[in-house]
């Protein structure tokens, strides 16, 4: 029972986590880990519990049992704002931008826990990734198109300079050309800035190709894990999540 070493092996460790909505058990004992510098993808059908897991990591809803460790520290019972201050940011499913605030204000909010002296630099980086946001800078976020709101949600998460970035369906609602672009942005942020990324995606093929490792979630449990390549090559995974036909 010695305390964890200074540099724990996993950046994020989820241990036997159970989460409930009322009586419904959405997560039924999930174990997984995300290591420093990795891109880890979580795939699974709708209702498997993927978004619930990301939200549980951020403390809302709270895990009913089990532990969540971030860099060795138990964050299971921390309030969400304290979790964000530790260096975790999430781009939630379905955008959730602040509709009555401008694009710029949304990005400011994202930066509220980051080092203020680097605000301009971070802003330029987000505008560099998504030039359309610069053009829409003073526009209310609620008047953006759906795809633009998606870009804003990711930009807002990047503004906090997280060490662990949680992306819930980043390709949702994006045009085909932008879908390709979003995956190259994720790789670039990971490689250039050593940002660790935990990604939930329905676009399983692209996501697994991008990821170092992946987990498959079904009915609130981890069904399988392995490298992105292994999972892509697995016939069961292909049948369940990659092939289009129901045959």
């Amino acid at each position: 029972m010695t305390p964890a070493p200074a540099q724990p092996r996993a950046m994020l460790a989820v241990e036997a986590v159970h989460t409930f909505y009322g009586h419904i058990e959405a997560l039924a004992g999930v174990d997984l880990e995300v290591r420093h510098g990795e891109i880890v993808t979580l795939i699974g059908a709708n209702g498997a519990g993927k978004s619930t897991l990301l939200m549980t990591i951020c403390g809302n809803p709270r895990a009913a049992h089990g532990r969540i460790l971030f860099e060795g520290e138990d964050i299971t019972s921390l309030p969400t704002h304290a979790i964000v201050r530790r260096g975790i940011a999430q781009s939630p499913e379905g955008r959730r931008v602040f509709p009555f605030m401008s694009v710029f204000e949304n990005l400011q909010i994202g930066a509220s826990v980051a080092d203020p002296t680097r605000f301009e630099e971070d802003l330029e980086r987000v505008f560099g990734l998504y030039p359309i946001l610069r053009a829409r800078r003073e526009q209310r976020a609620g008047t953006l198109s759906g795809g633009e709101q998606q870009m804003l949600a990711i930009g807002r998460a990047l503004m906090s300079r997280p060490r662990l970035l949680l992306l819930d369906e980043p390709s949702l609602g994006l045009a085909p050309m932008l879908v390709k672009q979003i995956f190259s942005i994720i790789r670039e942020v990971n490689e250039r800035e050593r940002m660790t990324i935990f990604l939930v995606e329905q676009n399983a093929y692209h996501a697994l190709r991008l990821a170092h490792r992946g987990y498959v979630l079904a009915n609130g449990r981890v069904l399988m894990s392995g490298s992105g390549q292994e999972l892509l090559a697995n016939p069961e995974i292909r049948a369940a999540y990659l092939e289009g036909g129901t045959r």
């Binding site: 059908a45 709708n46 008047t143 329905q202 999540y241 129901t246």
Partner: protein
């Protein structure tokens, strides 16, 4: 202008929508037929959802005429109608890109609310309902029956008593379709129904939409970015870019239209796909 023999279910003529100095839609005309799936595609911010908002009364178009020819009730000029009359009288129903269910109501309740107009009429605006007259009870039973029917069709029957907000994202999208269908539309407008679905689930959605088109004999307008879905089920495709129509043709023609490839589809650079995966990912019925 319309050359077709039978007038279309929906005719959009010279639709323009300005927000201050921003021209979101610029002189767009197209038609959508009965028993057909018409897709509207285009880059993010092209004005696709704005078209839906004009059709369903969320916006009053700056310019343009939107004619819906109801098979039983005659023609309606949608741009002149109050928003709430559009589903009720003209029979146009929609779903939302950013889901808008009643999250704290159950799945079944969401579908009953969709039938509020008929139920209110049957209840004599509350009175008969309070007295529990048979006419109202029949109407209520019908409403529940229709809700059950659409729950079964959308694969949500076992979730009827869940709070809608607790459903997974993809299930919420299906519930929005069920809710729209409970209003008995003649034109169903779907805003990115396959967003958040994995390939298998989108294949199920595809089947559901084809069945709705056949069995309900209605027209479907579809905004969608999943090209496997769009190319597989659309009878024709309208392409928007910066608020303008840049193409209006069959899936085969649109797929190879250089302007559409430049603005939207992008060059096909998936040569890195391992062949066995590429084969799996190719939409059925499309060799290559």
């Amino acid at each position: 202008m319309s050359a077709a023999a039978a007038p279309a279910l929906l005719t959009v003529e010279h639709l323009t929508m300005r927000f201050g100095g921003l021209v979101a839609i610029d002189d767009v005309s197209f038609a959508a037929a009965d028993r057909e799936i018409t897709a509207i595609i285009g880059p993010n911010g092209a004005g696709k959802t704005t078209v839906f908002n004009c059709l369903t009364g969320f916006y009053k178009p700056t310019v343009g005429r939107l004619t819906l020819r109801h098979p039983h009730r005659g023609a309606f000029l949608l741009e002149r109608m109050e928003g709430y009359q559009i589903p009720q009288r003209a029979g146009v129903a929609r779903t939302f890109q950013n889901i808008r269910l009643f999250p704290a109501m159950t799945v079944l309740e969401n579908l009953i609310v969709a039938q509020h107009n008929e139920l209110m009429r049957a209840s004599g605006y509350t009175v008969y309902g309070l007295l529990g007259l048979p006419g109202y009870r029949r109407a209520e039973a019908d409403a529940v029956e229709r809700a059950r029917h659409w729950l079964a069709r959308t694969g949500l029957a076992d979730r009827a008593d869940w709070e809608a907000g607790n459903l997974a994202y993809g299930a919420q999208r299906r519930l929005e379709i069920a809710r729209a269908m409970c209003t008995r539309p003649v034109l169903l407008c779907l805003d990115e129904p396959a967003a958040g679905l994995n390939p298998r689930e989108s294949a199920e959605l595809t089947e559901l939409l084809l069945r709705i088109r056949e069995e309900e004999a209605i027209g479907i307008l579809l905004i969608e970015h999943h090209m496997d879905v769009v190319m597989q089920i659309s009878d024709h495709i309208v392409v928007l870019d910066y608020g303008r129509k840049i193409a209006d043709a069959s899936p085969q023609q649109v797929r190879h239209d250089p302007a559409v490839i430049r603005a939207y589809l992008g060059e096909d650079d998936d040569e890195a796909l391992p062949p066995e995966v590429a084969r799996d990912l190719t939409p059925r019925g499309d060799g290559r």
